[in-house]
Symmetry: C3
Subunit: 140 residues, 3 copies
């Protein structure tokens, strides 16, 4: 069994937004009991993050970390066609995840207690981002 759906997500510029519930809803609609859910972002300047979902300071510190190692407008970037956050966004995407596979168990997305899935917009401007979710496995 397989179900593939596309999410169209509006971002408000650089930052994270949780998409765990939207993925869980697709898992639920799939009717799959045991399997996997694959999440893929069709862009190279926004990415996915699997991280701690309790204290928002964790995501703020992750943001600071990326700003430190891949700063906007570093003088050695050759690629700056779309502005100082263009190349930084590509580096940030490579260091995080463009796709994630998550277990489905007993008909539900089997994340750990403190795990959430986030879409991470790396550009400063708001964007529309496309995410393809594919759930496959066996029914009960």
């Amino acid at each position: 069994m397989i179900l593939q759906e596309t999410l169209d997500i509006a971002t408000r510029g650089r930052g994270t937004q949780e998409i765990s519930a939207q993925i869980a809803a697709i898992v639920s609609r799939s009717g799959i009991h045991t399997g996997l859910a694959h999440v893929f972002i069709c862009h190279t300047s926004a990415s996915l993050l699997l991280s701690e979902n309790a204290d928002p300071d964790v995501r703020r510190d992750l943001e600071r970390f990326l700003q430190r190692i891949a700063p906007d407008g570093a003088p050695w970037y050759a690629h700056d066609a779309e502005g100082p956050d263009d190349m930084a966004a590509h580096i940030r995407s490579v260091l995080t995840a463009s796709e994630l596979t998550l277990p489905v168990r007993a008909g539900r997305l089997a994340l750990g207690t403190w795990q959430g899935v986030y879409l991470w917009e790396h550009r400063h401007a708001a964007h529309r981002r496309r995410v393809i979710v594919t759930v496959h496995g066996e029914a009960a």
Copy 2:
């Protein structure tokens, strides 16, 4: 065909331990000839690593690398609820892998000659870590 099993792994604090054999055993039990094995860690302060399995210095150098770019107790971390290694552990998890998909070929886990799968504990204290392994594909 699909087989999903959970590993409950005791760590001894920060460091790597190989789990290739435990994953290979689940692949063997699954009876799957051609397919994929997915490995997922249900935590955000421990992660997975696919790396060189011959010289232990490789993993020591990887440890040093993470300590350099994501040091314990960096003064700019806002999140330190569980101590100086708390936020460092989250960054280290993001930079490595929370999940891995590995090929199954001819009924066996098809890693390269020098590849091993490791669980990487990023907290200094010992922990129990849960790993969900899902093997799917076709029988011979």
Copy 3:
């Protein structure tokens, strides 16, 4: 349905080469309409990259970025059996991807408009690299 094939790719030393077309060809041969394509590199000193495929400066800047954070011959590397690029190559592999899962939709590899899949050789010498591609899902 599942199709698993192996690519044997000759590299010319450090740098990226696009392999999207080779993966797309396997997807096409598989006859799968809706599913996933998994790409796995059987090495720990070369890796995979999903990145921007229009301006080559993006990959040049990614190369510079890795050279800055994981320089060849850093004085603190203990592992240098194969030369100054040996440990750097392992770190670069960990920070990028050893495996990628990509959606298959309507019988085609469903990458975003600006996404390409690259093999990234991290050693300075030319190598032969083995990549296992596994396509699974449902026919139309």
